[in-house]
Symmetry: C2
Subunit: 419 residues, 2 copies
């Protein structure tokens, strides 16, 4: 790659991209938009529109109540698709249900019940806010200590510090697999093994890793996990989340929200709650059929592309973006914090700039859509299924030009609502 990174390099990389044709599976309403926020809200697959219409027209409108004969299995079937193609897990270990936050609550509470007498929960200050809040709530309700590891927010979680923090009084360790800020990958296998050596259960948040990086749940012996479907799985805004419970643990764990969709012989509507044996016991209420259908469609596209090819392209994309950021943006005040080592790099690249908030606003108006994170971070999400190397080139060209011209200074410095 030449020092000046000509567009022809990006074109060559796109020409050699085995996933290039998957871009056609998605909707591009405005071809001028360079969308670098697929790590926050994934683009809409064309086939999802059709899948939703089949539910609305053929099933809800057409079959009416009789459609429950197949809807009843949808959450588990979609979970099995995720287990088979997105994360490393067995059939019957994953189910789509509720939101990530509610799933985290259910599994964390189940874990605490399974380690009676232990008084400590461990997380880190790089964990996503909702995770930290949920754990704060559980700790408060149970009079437990929530031990929060200080993590370098640019480098991600350090296994040595985790090993120090987790002790024989620790019931549960909960961390994010890929940091939502830096994009750094945590060493799932080493950290899980260390925590297991102390007798703690381990719950991983896969929101920023599912669909972007390999997730070795089975080989790392992970106990519990939750994940988001509206980012790299392209399930749509607020699509229902998924949860994972290791097979061997399922019957020994009981989650706190005893809803009828976790009940054995549900439609007998018996007097007493008795949870079903499988992963369905971690369901609660009636599943959102349209939402789960959209998740299934997104996961099917992942399955067709294959996580191996997705990860390979993701690494090439982040490497390319990293090179452009260093060459073009560091000279104009940005700092690139994405880990240089491939095995530590997730699906997005993060840069700092003291004027990040104004720059993010200016970028949106320049039709290159990033993700701002307080106080000074801009995340560039590079979803492998639909992001071209030429998009990275074009997007970063626009950023370089607008900051060089000082156009971001036309925007207010006061921070508003950013999702």
């Amino acid at each position: 790659m030449a020092i000046d990174h000509p567009l022809s390099d990006a074109a060559d990389l796109d020409a050699a991209d085995p996933l290039a044709s998957h871009r056609d599976r998605f909707v591009f309403a405005d071809p001028e938009v360079v969308y670098l926020d697929g790590n926050s809200l994934g683009r809409a697959p064309k086939s999802t529109r059709e899948a939703i219409l089949r539910v609305v027209d053929d099933e809800w409108s057409g079959e009416l109540i009789a459609a429950w004969d197949h809807w009843i299995d949808l959450s588990r079937e979609t979970g099995d698709l995720i287990a088979g193609h997105v994360v490393e897990a067995h059939p019957g270990e994953v189910i789509v249900s509720d939101s990530t936050s509610v799933n985290l609550y259910k599994l964390a509470a189940a874990a605490l019940d399974a380690r009676p007498g232990r008084k400590v929960l461990v997380t880190d200050d790089d964990n996503f806010p909702t995770d930290r809040y949920i754990l704060q709530g559980l700790a408060a309700a149970r009079g437990m200590e929530l031990r929060t590891i200080a993590t370098d927010l640019d480098r991600g979680v350090d296994p040595a510090r985790v090993a120090e923090a987790v002790d024989d009084d620790t019931a549960l360790l909960c961390l994010s697999h890929v940091s939502y800020r830096s994009g750094a990958i945590a060493d799932m296998a080493a950290i899980t093994a260390d925590a297991h050596a102390k007798g703690a259960l381990v719950l991983w948040d896969l929101c920023h890793s599912a669909g972007a990086v390999p997730v070795p749940l089975a080989s790392a012996g992970v106990d519990l996990a939750v994940g988001c479907t509206y980012k790299y799985l392209n399930g749509g805004p607020g699509a229902p989340a998924f949860l994972y419970v290791r097979r061997e643990l399922q019957t020994s764990l009981r989650q706190p929200i005893w809803g009828w969709f976790g009940q054995r012989d549900q439609f007998a509507m018996g007097e007493t709650y008795e949870p079903v044996d499988g992963v369905e016991r971690f369901q609660v209420g009636t599943p959102p059929v349209i939402g789960v259908t959209a998740v299934r469609e997104g996961v099917r596209i992942i399955a067709e592309a294959g996580m191996k090819a997705i990860r390979e392209k993701s690494l090439r994309l982040t490497e390319y973006a990293d090179a452009l950021c260093r060459a073009w943006l560091e000279p104009i005040g940005f700092t690139v914090v994405t880990p240089a080592e491939a095995e530590r790099r997730g699906g997005h690249v993060t840069v700092h700039h003291p004027e990040a908030w104004r720059i993010a606003q200016a970028m949106r108006d320049a039709k290159v859509v990033p993700d701002y994170r307080s106080p000074d971070r801009i995340r560039l999400g590079l979803a492998p299924l639909y992001t071209r190397f030429a998009d990275v080139h074009e997007g970063l060209t626009r950023v370089r030009d607008l900051v060089t011209a000082g156009r971001h200074l036309e925007y207010g410095a006061e921070r508003g609502r950013v999702t």
Copy 2:
């Protein structure tokens, strides 16, 4: 009405029906189907298809992440619509969130925390299974007693028995406003007042009443409520539920699942959970945008028709169905258990028959769709927005004829899965 109930009577009633034109708002894929199950899964409004496509095409595909600028208010706005048109509540007292079961858990747990020292939860054995299971789970987790009132399953909850069961040690009373089996309406005002006199908080399940009968939350001084949107509100299969918290209680209650959508200044992503003041504190994770949009569409149709007209038609429909059931079905082995008093009758009519399971199967094949409930009940849901008196006549004619001919005896007696 003549003894033999000629079809012309039904036609006259339809001709005089001020809500007759609202039927055009819904999809009728197969005009031969007489759908008497709108109390389990409401029909699809035509405009919901368009509303969902606007979200998928214009917002998700078109605006991408920027659509969160308006999506963020959707759950509250839809809650306010429900507060304004479906239940008697003030703006800011209702929000759409999660499933009914998860909402029940959140509000019940919040109530128990607000009555420390009290050791009893009260419900009745006519409450819907998921309610009873959720309360069992909370009682077990907190070492509390769950006191279950024995209710006449055909007559519904008796205020005198509730007054007996609720004592000075009761933290929370939780009942269904309309019984899912008999369709009997509980006396919300009297029961709430009695429980308040003992210092207990009261949580009503509105699943079978919202959109079918008046729900006097404000005038009855109700503390907490949860409700379903996929029945009479026609929000679609598994659509997100709603919850109500009386304004004066909101800041004093804290729910157990501390998710980021309940956090004050959510996108500051601060260290410590501090719930926002309003009803939003009872949210947890990212709301399902497509699902909430469908709920809003269903509620808008209710708002246009008006609950007063809906209730009036509902009473005429259930009275008419009751008369036909008594004239045609009681002579062939059915027993009608719907309360005769208008003020105690919800939106569905319930009949018993020893062969209810076989009859329900035969009815489906005869394209008259009921709702079977174990062990011997058939519910006939009469959704006022789209059910004609002629539909009731036609449906019950088919039931009468198939049972008279013994066609239900061709079906297996073994019960399968029924939703």
